[in-house]
Assembly symmetry: C2
Homo-oligomer: 340 residues x 2
């Protein structure tokens, strides 16, 4: 077996002091980012392996960060996880994953499990069931950074990374108005989640600005999936005065809308269709689907940066972090491309 690499080997290789190597490996903030990166790269290349468990007993750090998401299978969350892991890895952190599966109890257990595992901080997006977010307070009580993304909660004071959902709803609606659509329906979730309410408020604001009344029958609250879009559209098509455009609560809802229109021999953009999320398939279906990109990769990276920023501050000097608000992007495609 080759000789075990020590901090002395890394210091020699980079021509810096052992103390600098140690500070870099322990992520102490008096080290420049470039030095830290060089140390971590050299440590990796030389196969340096500290006993993390033993060293964590003295440093109190494990270089793991917990992430709680409703499901790693949902593309938005998968993309956030992807970006978070990719970014934090280069700073020597690993990601401990916990899925709430949209269950409040499971989310509570997730906090307990991750704190037990001595993570250095937690990044989370709340389950649909979570009304009382007090279990998250435990993370703060242990002096660990807590960052909530996308699905946030007004009762919880902590670092946040979110998208401007009101603007997302506004953008989608304004785009349809600009394309000449006037009778715009909206199929959304029946769940009372803030981000969905904000998107809907954006829809109302755009209609109001255009001097158009919001027809209450044009709002369908059901399930946020293909079936929900399909059923909702069949309901909307029964009206004598049927909508000329439909907003889907996400891209899967939009797929259901397109399916239901197809049953009646209608193809977008004859009736305009727009979704949210910019799922992988949206660009490639026929007709291609207009949508609002929620910039999941950017959200993941911002969560990583926020964590690194907080963890470098001494506990006593931590200041409240301003929420990072990410702008949604309109992607106008064939499904709303009506000749005016």
């Amino acid at each position: 077996m080759a000789k075990k690499t020590t901090v002395y080997d890394i210091a020699k290789e980079l021509n810096i002091t052992v103390s600098t190597v140690s500070r870099a490996l322990n992520n102490i903030s008096t080290i420049s980012e470039s030095t830290r990166k060089a140390v971590i790269e050299t440590a990796t290349r030389l196969n340096y392996r500290p006993n993390k468990i033993a060293s964590s007993l003295t440093s109190g750090k494990t270089y793991t960060i917990g992430i709680i998401v409703p499901s790693a299978q949902v593309q938005f969350f998968a993309s956030v996880i992807h970006a978070l892991e990719t970014h934090l890895k280069s700073f020597g952190y690993s990601i401990l994953l916990y899925q709430s599966n949209e269950s409040f109890i499971s989310e509570k257990n997730g906090i307990t499990t991750l704190l037990e595992a001595q993570v250095d901080g937690i990044v989370a997006s709340m389950s649909l069931e979570t009304k009382d977010p007090s279990h998250f307070e435990k993370v703060k009580e242990e002096g660990k950074p807590l960052i909530i993304f996308d699905r946030t909660h007004d009762d919880l004071q902590c670092a946040m990374v979110k998208i401007d959902d009101l603007h997302a709803g506004y953008l989608a609606t304004k785009h349809l108005l600009d394309a000449g659509y006037r009778k715009i329906a909206y199929i959304t979730t029946k769940h009372k989640i803030k981000i969905f309410k904000e998107r809907y408020d954006g829809y109302l604001r755009a209609l109001q600005e255009a001097g158009l009344p919001a027809n209450p029958g044009y709002t369908i609250a059901g399930e946020l999936n293909v079936e929900g879009g399909y059923r909702g559209t069949h309901e909307l098509l029964k009206f004598r005065e049927r909508p000329d455009a439909i907003i889907g609560g996400d891209d899967y809802v939009a797929l259901g809308i397109i399916k239901a229109l197809h049953d009646k021999n209608i193809a977008p953009p004859e009736i305009g269709v727009i979704g949210f999320a910019n799922q992988n398939f949206s660009e490639h279906i026929i007709p291609s689907l207009s949508t609002i990109d929620q910039q999941a990769l950017k959200i993941g990276k911002e969560c990583a940066k926020m964590f690194l920023k907080i963890i470098e501050q001494p506990l006593s000097a931590r200041t409240e972090q301003k929420p990072v608000v990410i702008e949604p992007l309109l992607l106008a495609r064939e499904s709303t491309n009506r000749k005016k």
Copy 2:
């Protein structure tokens, strides 16, 4: 603050001995599954929090398991992660995630990082770049379970969970033959990955059984994405004797095939199209896409079961595990539903 829950509280609650609780929490195999589950549920409910770091120094276990995948953003891997985490969570394990991003170097670093973090075992699927899998030997050298899924390697002896890829390719081709298609093309990846070669071999076998020659021009090796399918199809459509069906290496390739056919005013099933993977969108596009389901959730669950089975065996008594081979499922939909 409430009194800290101990193993005594759990034993009292369940009316069992402290020794049984301890054995259940330490996952020792002389405990029945129902007792173990009851203990874990009670421990969770009573908010029992052992100091995992301290206890791991004596038990040598951290109740974390590492997973290395090319990307958590790819739906197949996201689904495997989802199932693995969901299943192992009920046995008290957490998942430490590492993405190779299809890089050999990164995958090697992943093994080092996860072993440093003292995971109890590793589940992995190899990067496209990995030709020499010897870095995985380190996991076995440390006496930790290693389970490779989907993208396996002949040079690596370890537990494996995979899909019968030859049968997957055979099923797709046989289905097209049964639907009356005779000139069947195949768009696949240029990478020399075993699973893709096996699927292709299944295609050749089905053609041979049907007494049909494999036209070499009908095989296009490019990129495994929408663009790859799109370009490949435009090449195929240039032939004087053009194919009457095209197999896409995955569902994104199939999306590209459908797009290219649309350019020429052809819609499936006029030319039959089938993919692999059963992505979320496949069922819902118009026409719906025939595909081969790779049963990602089943793969994830089988990896979890394999890990639990191995970890319960004393190191000295560990026997070689037979590979778990999962049967692919044909999902016949509109894109191949030609009237014969």
